[in-house]
């Protein structure tokens, strides 16, 4: 049963990473232009990240 004390915080940590990831993508404007961002990688002269 002790394993729960290890697994529970560990699984929470994983999920929290997901939440922080979502937060970061949101703050970094990654949902502003999904169509454009998908295409930017195809062109050398365009910056391929989202708008700062």
């Amino acid at each position: 049963m002790n394993i729960i004390l290890l697994l529970a915080p560990f699984s929470l940590l994983l999920a929290l990473m997901g939440l922080v990831g979502f937060w970061w993508t949101f703050r970094a404007n990654q949902y502003e232009d999904p169509k454009g961002d998908a295409a930017r990688i195809l062109y050398d002269h365009l910056e391929d990240g989202p708008e700062a």
């Binding site: 529970a8 997901g18 937060w23 232009d33 002269h45 708008e51």
Partner: protein
């Protein structure tokens, strides 16, 4: 339009920052592919003084950052135009407004709620095993509940903020909206769950509190998206409509500025082909004005110095300089504005379906929960068990399905309409649209194309007059030139505002214009005719009329098939109105109405119990649009009418009206089905909770199950069901 822009100074559209750089946003039309984006960014970035460009392929907006003060917006627009993408600058005030803070807050809350719901569930599922007699030590169950509490409580408190705030604001105004029972439900659930866990009980609902918020936030976010999308599209339409007003500066220069920056007393230049941007008095110049947008009349009016002109009128022939007047000085327009305001007020009093449901739901559920607590205690359950059951009643009946029932349907319905070129401004607009039983059309620009067409004339006569017609911007001359097709223009052109044009055709002097301009005696002078003749030769008369749209008759038949009655209200004279009504298959029509009479007719219809849908585009329709039960305006309408209308449809496609009514009726049906389902669900769940048959597992299944059913039913709108 772009050619006219090129002559202007558009620096007012650039917002300068402290370091001297500037930023401008443009709406670019026609760029749909990745290649377009690459081409646009490459070409604009290559311009001098441009520091950075960023094109948003999803929204079609281009942001340009200039390095210094010398950045030239006109060159950017010309470059885009040369590439084949017409661009319009956004008013900086609108760019600042577009920032969507509420949407960001809701999205973050939704993310946190999703995290909380998933992870609280992870600890709650093992605890559920114990509820059905499987082996689970009370100590382990308690550990699980505590872990669940650690995750769910902060998440619920954070994600619930939008609801808590709204509930608090509503309570401060001594009213109870749907967020009040949600707030009470969530907070009571958390408190009861803590007290249960502390007392080693088996019934803790930490997961339910945060799952509830998660499901509700989905509905809230969808509702917000719907409104934000409509606002964005409306802003784009307005940017395309009135890009600039040209202000005459003290030094004699001309400068293009956003219309909002024009102040009373400014001098404004209006060239032929442009719309009058603001109300004012003519200081210099004379011209013909097309007032169709304002009064509905097709005939052009001749104006000269001292005349009062209204925003929205199209300048046809001469360059005008206006002195801008205060809005309040103009009694007619101010009166229309007052009528519109009153209409908007009566509209905001409209109670939406969801609020009607809430008004019924809130007192019933709260009384039920209170009775459960009091009755349970009185009948010997003990305060702890009684409170637990009361909390269970609040949890299982909490309005998840209710909160999703309407937004889910409305977002699907407005998405379908959006794809068909109809923009829905709000969910309430869709609900009102479904109740409509009488349709009122404006004539000019709605049933008709809003521009004249040549009535049958011999081809060789048309070809003879065409060279003069090609030299003029007057709509009648343009219609004549259009009928003749391509060819040479006359030379030595002299245009007299309000009269006509004179010039040389193959060395012979000829005139095209009003009867008086050609010396023809005014027998039955009509504003929709042109006279043409060579010097000392016979005079020829051309007649024009505003053509009825091809889609009009079919659209009217469609509306009648839906059981609606149709009527035309026009500001034009009786003859053309009767003709158009006959062509469109409409029996009832009224002509010669002022804007106030139009609004009065709508009010009278309303008083007799009819639910009126008004479709109009002019300033003369704005008051009627605002006062009707529901209203539609084409995308070509004046600002005021687009603002007053609930729905805006693209192009002149009148079939949009019947489609919008069909879809809004289907949406209403789906929403009512969803309410019926929620009621049925509550009728089963509430007694179960009162008699203590609900445990946390049952509550979680019931809550998400009912939300799922409601959402799936809404999605049926996209299938054949919505087409009925």
């Amino acid at each position: 339009m772009t050619a006219a822009l090129a002559e202007r100074n558009l620096s007012a559209f650039v917002r300068h920052d402290a370091e001297g750089g500037g930023r401008m946003e443009l709406l670019v039309t026609g760029a749909r592919c990745a290649g377009c984006m690459a081409k646009i960014e490459k070409s604009v970035a290559a311009l001098p003084d441009v520091a950075a460009t960023r094109f948003n392929l999803t929204t079609g907006k281009l942001a340009v950052t200039f390095a210094g003060r010398d950045g030239d917006p006109v060159r950017v627009i010309d470059t885009l135009d040369a590439l084949g993408y017409p661009a319009t600058p956004f008013d900086p005030a609108q760019v600042a407004q577009a920032h969507d803070r509420e949407g960001r807050e809701l999205a973050i809350a939704l993310g946190v709620a999703a995290f909380g719901a998933g992870n609280a569930m992870m600890f709650t599922v093992p605890a559920w095993a114990g509820l059905f007699g499987q082996e689970l030590e009370p100590a382990t169950r308690e550990l699980m509940y505590w872990l669940s509490a650690i995750v769910a409580t902060p998440c619920a408190l954070f994600a619930g903020m939008p609801f808590f705030r709204s509930a608090w604001n509503s309570l401060k105004r001594r009213r109870a909206n749907m967020d009040v029972p949600i707030t009470i439900g969530v907070l009571l659930t958390l408190i009861v769950s803590f007290s249960e866990t502390l007392q080693h009980g088996a019934h803790a609902y930490f997961d339910a509190a945060v799952t509830l918020l998660f499901l509700l936030l989905i509905g809230r976010y969808m509702d917000h998206k719907l409104r934000a999308r409509a606002r964005g599209a409306a802003r784009d339409l307005l940017a395309l409509q009135a890009p600039v007003a040209v202000r005459l500066e003290a030094d004699g220069g001309e400068r293009g500025v956003p219309v909002g920056e024009i102040q009373v007393g400014d001098a404004v230049v209006v060239v032929p082909g442009d719309r009058i941007p603001v109300n004012g008095v003519i200081e210099q110049g004379s011209s013909d004005l097309d007032n169709a947008m304002i009064t509905g009349e097709t005939a052009a009016a001749t104006v000269g110095p001292g005349a009062l002109v209204h925003a929205g009128a199209l300048n046809l022939s001469g360059r005008l300089i206006l002195r801008v007047q205060a809005r309040s000085e103009d009694s007619a327009i101010a009166a229309i504005a007052r009528l519109m305001e009153a209409g908007a007020q009566s509209r905001s009093a409209y109670v939406q379906l969801a609020d009607k449901a809430a008004a019924l739901y809130v007192p019933v559920v709260h009384t039920l929960a209170l009775l459960t607590f009091a009755g349970g205690w009185a009948l010997g359950l003990g305060p702890r068990e009684a409170l637990l059951r009361a909390a269970a009643v609040l949890i299982v009946t909490c309005p998840c399905a209710l909160g999703l029932a309407v937004p889910a349907v409305q977002i699907v319905a407005s998405g379908r309409l959006f794809r068909a070129g109809v923009l829905v401004k709000s969910g309430a607009a869709l609900e009102r649209m479904a109740e409509v039983d009488h349709v009122v059309f404006d004539k000019t620009g709605v049933l008709t194309e809003g521009r004249p067409r040549l009535l049958d004339a011999p081809a060789q006569v048309v070809a003879m007059a065409a060279p003069l017609a090609r030299a003029s911007r007057h709509p009648l001359a343009r219609a004549l030139a259009e009928a003749a097709g391509c060819g040479d223009a006359a030379t030595d052109i002299v245009e007299t505002a309000g009269m006509g044009v004179e010039g040389l055709i193959d060395g012979r002097r000829a005139r095209l214009g009003r009867a008086a301009f050609l010396g023809v005696s005014n027998r039955q002078s009509s504003e929709t005719e042109l006279w043409f003749g060579f010097d000392d030769d016979t005079r020829i008369r051309f007649a024009f009329e505003d053509q009825v749209r091809d889609s009009a008759a079919a659209a009217v038949r469609d509306l009648q098939a839906l059981g609606l009655t149709v009527e035309v209200l026009s500001g034009d004279v009786a003859g053309p109105v009767a003709r158009v009504a006959r062509a469109a298959g409409i029996e009832h029509w009224r002509s010669g109405l002022t804007p106030f009479e139009k609004a009065a007719v709508i009010d009278a219809l309303k008083a007799s119990g009819r639910k009126v849908l008004m479709i109009g585009d002019g300033l003369n329709d704005a008051a009627a649009l605002a006062r009707a039960h529901a209203s539609m305006a084409p995308g070509t309408a004046v600002d005021a009418s687009q603002n007053a209308a609930d729905l805006v449809y693209a192009g002149g496609n009148l079939s949009a009206a019947a489609l919008a009514i069909r879809i809004s009726r289907a949406a209403r049906r789906r929403a009512l089905e969803n309410f019926a389902f929620s009621a049925l669900y509550n009728a089963v769940a509430a007694p179960a909770a009162i008699f203590g048959l609900v445990n946390p597992f049952v509550a979680a299944i019931a809550m998400s199950g009912s939300s799922l059913v409601v959402t799936l039913n809404a999605l049926r709108m996209n299938l054949a069901g919505g087409r009925r």
